[in-house]
Amino acid sequence: MRLQYPSNVKIICLPCTGKVDLIHILRAFEKGADGVYVVGCLEGACQFTSGNIRARKRVEQARAILDKVGVGGERVQMYNLSSSEAPRFVQIASEMTEKMMALGPNPIKTAKSRMAA
């Protein structure tokens, strides 16, 4: 459909969100990502049965850890949509971007630059 979505969103393609492991999410934040969101199939429609369910559980785990270490669990989100919902995909990208702008930069980034100085 050639719709535009915010350029600050980096997409990592996976065969299924079930492939996302907790460490992938955490490392992204460790390296300075301001937000991470996982986009999977609608619940009940996962091609691999329940990969998206596992992903949701891992996102929740990540959220709990990020809250405890001072990064903030709101920076990671899970969304479900079908592959035909391009406008929704754009909407999610914008939504996440707005949310992260409101939260400000990842405190890890700020801390690292302060230490380098």
């Binding site: 907790l22 955490l26 460790e30 001072g70 990064v71």
Partner: protein, 221 residues
Amino acid sequence: MIVAKKKPIEEIIDEIKGYQKILIVGCNECVTVCESGGKKEVAVLASALRMYFLNQGKDVKIDEVTLERQCDHEYLEEIRKMIDQFDAVLSLACGVGVQFLAEKYTRTPIYPGVDTSFMGVTQERGIWTERCQGCGQCILARTAGICPVSRCAKRIFNGPCGGSTKGKCEISREIDCAWQLIIDRLKELGRLDDYEQIQPIKDWSTERAGGPRKVVREDVR
């Protein structure tokens, strides 16, 4: 396997917060199977702790290594060359591993990262349940393969007690009454008459009560 669960991160932070160079050591056996201290859990914990300390404005080095086991000398030797780089070690092995590490590397403080709980089974993914308490004198032959020491909350040898309700223990509806299980199994084996045999008083001297235990095999020494 030995089943352990991850310590809350707040507790771990409290243990290691004074240190600058920390090594997190995982174990490839039991704690990997119960998903509390294997390579994956080491990675997650290391990442989380790095982020925590960065946010605190502290420059803390956190390295990761996972050994095959932490209850054998040979595997613990593998970190001899690197351990002096660190001022503390956080071991995600069971209590056995943490102690053995501490015995071997006496000049490095070793901290536990999991709460070791019991000897048990993977009932299903994500649920581990207790089966054995190491009483030292296995009586499973007399109880149709179900242990009253580890599965009965009162370790009754001639049960069930008056609190058994619809096959569940009086202390929780989520816990099976061990004696109901034993009776059901005896029925399946056609041995319900065995129920009336009085189980004798247990010799607890081979259990924790008798003091720290040792097994020796002279023939292999």
